[in-house]
Every structure is written in structure tokens, then in C-alpha cells.
């Protein structure tokens, strides 16, 4: 397996969607290719870091404004 072939499967590998038959080929490639090990590990870390950190917080007051808007809509349409 070449690095390009490995990269083509990287998405499925990260999402744990690789077919069993292909899995051993990927493992085999990783055993002999430090670059692809680094690519796999750092891409996985990239995803983890973005999942862990909330980079946009809900603005203050937005929930209250939303609540008021929904109630206003409800008064018009609920009765």
C-alpha cells in the first residue's frame, strides 16, 4: 500500500468505518511508515481539539430574546 492509498482511506479510518479486510493492510502500512502514523495521529488530535473547545459561546441575552420571540409567535398562533 502506498501513502496515497493510505490517505484515501484516512477518513474512514478516523471514523472507524474501514472494512475488516482493508484494516490489516492499513495496519501493515502504518508499521512501516512513520509519516502516515504522524498524519493519522495529528489529524485525530485536530478533530479532538476542535471537539473539546467551544470557540464560539452563546451570546449573553440571546436565549432570553429567543424565548420572548417564541412566546410572541405563540400568542399569535397558539390560540
Amino acid at each position: 500500500m502506498t501513502c496515497s492509498e493510505f490517505l484515501a482511506e484516512l477518513g474512514d479510518l478516523l471514523d472507524d468505518r474501514v472494512a475488516m479486510s482493508l484494516r490489516s493492510d492499513l495496519e501493515m502500512h502504518l508499521k512501516g511508515c512513520e509519516h502516515c502514523v504522524i498524519t493519522l495521529n495529528t489529524t485525530r488530535k485536530t478533530i479532538e481539539i476542535y471537539r473539546r473547545h467551544e470557540i464560539y459561546e452563546l451570546p449573553e441575552g440571546l436565549r432570553e430574546r429567543l424565548h420572548a420571540a417564541i412566546l410572541a409567535k405563540c400568542k399569535k398562533g397558539c390560540e
Binding site: 477518513g11 502514523v37 504522524i38 493519522l40 476542535y50 436565549r63 417564541i70 409567535k73
Partner: protein, 208 residues
């Protein structure tokens, strides 16, 4: 330990009874759905519009539209996926307005080869996030993700940040599953490449 780890997880959302109650006129049930998803919808809108005011408007418009159209929600998809689809459309409309009528779509700017082959192959520090303070790190992450082409960014945000499945992301964006997978991989590789600048091991970091 194997280098290939299992990362997939299934999540079950108890939305169905809430949607049913909201349809029957129970506004509190709808508000519960709002509280459950307002943060995520805000983040998605902010990622697409890259403008805080627009993102706030999108959140309000998307929830009000969902409330109005609750009768039309078929229940074939999850409520959240349906809501995301509304929010994505509202966000693109806002973006269009701001760019004075110029057509804006999530297909823009994706003809790039950047990041399709990894170039920075340095290892990262074991705890790269510890190198920066919380706000500095948030700024790095914001700046980096904002640099992605919009069509990659929205796929990455829905799939990897907000936890939609590949199929749900495709449904929410009106894309095919192969298109989502290809954009997602390119987005992940581009982000990895750019974050490498901040997180790579430096000379003198030692063996650890």
C-alpha cells in the same frame, strides 16, 4: 496497542415526544428543544456567516421558522438534522445579503489542492493545548477554521464539531455522501497542516 482506535459513538436524542408535544401546542416542549440546540445552532451559524450579529439573527429566524413549520416536519430525519438544514439555509441567505446579492453557496472555493497531501510531518507535543492559554488557543482555533473554504468548513463543523453523521451532514447540506466524505477529509488535512505550525514539537522539547 493498535494504532487504529475505535472512536465511533452512537447518541440517542429523546426529541420525538418533545416534537409531538410541541406540535400539539405545548410551547414549553418547544422551548426545551430550543435549550437543547441553541448553542449548536449558534455555532453553526457563526461558522458560516462569520459575523456575530448575523449568527444571532439566524438562531432566532431558524427556531421561529422551525416552530412555524413543525407540522411539515415528517419525522423521517432527526429533528436536529431538520433544524440544522433550516439554519444552514438561513445562514447562507444572511451571507448573500451581506455580500450585496452575490450568489453564495457552500460549493464556493473548493477547487483547491491545498492540504490534500500532508507536508508538515513533524510530530506534535503530547499535550499541544497546554502550550497556550484558553483564549489564545480559542483564537488559534477560530483563525484556523475560518481560513478553510466555506464548503469545507461547514462540512467539518457539522460532522466533526457538532457530531452529525456523514449521512445527516449530507442531508442537511443537500450533498451526496461521497461529496461530504471527500470535503471532510480535505478539511481535516488542511486544519491539521495549519495547526501543525502551533503544535509541532520544537527542537529542545526532549524525547517526550
Amino acid at each position: 496497542m493498535s494504532a487504529i482506535q475505535t472512536t465511533r459513538s452512537e447518541e440517542v436524542h429523546p426529541d420525538v415526544p418533545l416534537v409531538e408535544r410541541a406540535r400539539g401546542g405545548d410551547v414549553e416542549a418547544f422551548e426545551q428543544l430550543v435549550k437543547q440546540y441553541d448553542r449548536r445552532i449558534f455555532r453553526i451559524a457563526q461558522h458560516i456567516t462569520q459575523n456575530r450579529e448575523d449568527a444571532e439573527d439566524v438562531v432566532q429566524d431558524a427556531f421561529l421558522k422551525a416552530y412555524e413549520k413543525l407540522e411539515q416536519f415528517q419525522g423521517n430525519s432527526k429533528f436536529y438534522t431538520w433544524l440544522v438544514r433550516i439554519a444552514v439555509n438561513e445562514s447562507l441567505m444572511r451571507l448573500r445579503k451581506r455580500r450585496t446579492g452575490r450568489m453564495v453557496s457552500i460549493d464556493e472555493d473548493i477547487e483547491t489542492e491545498e492540504g490534500s497531501m500532508p507536508r508538515d510531518l513533524a510530530e506534535w507535543r503530547p499535550d499541544p493545548e497546554m502550550m497556550y492559554g484558553q483564549s489564545e488557543l480559542a483564537e488559534i482555533l477560530r483563525k484556523t477554521v475560518q481560513g478553510l473554504p466555506p464548503g469545507f468548513r461547514v462540512v467539518f463543523v457539522l460532522r466533526d464539531v457538532e457530531g452529525l453523521s456523514t449521512e445527516e451532514t449530507a442531508e442537511a447540506l443537500g450533498l451526496s455522501v461521497p461529496a461530504v466524505k471527500s470535503r471532510l477529509l480535505r478539511a481535516r488535512l488542511q486544519l491539521r497542516e495549519r495547526l501543525s505550525r502551533y503544535f509541532r514539537k520544537k527542537d529542545g522539547d526532549g524525547g517526550k
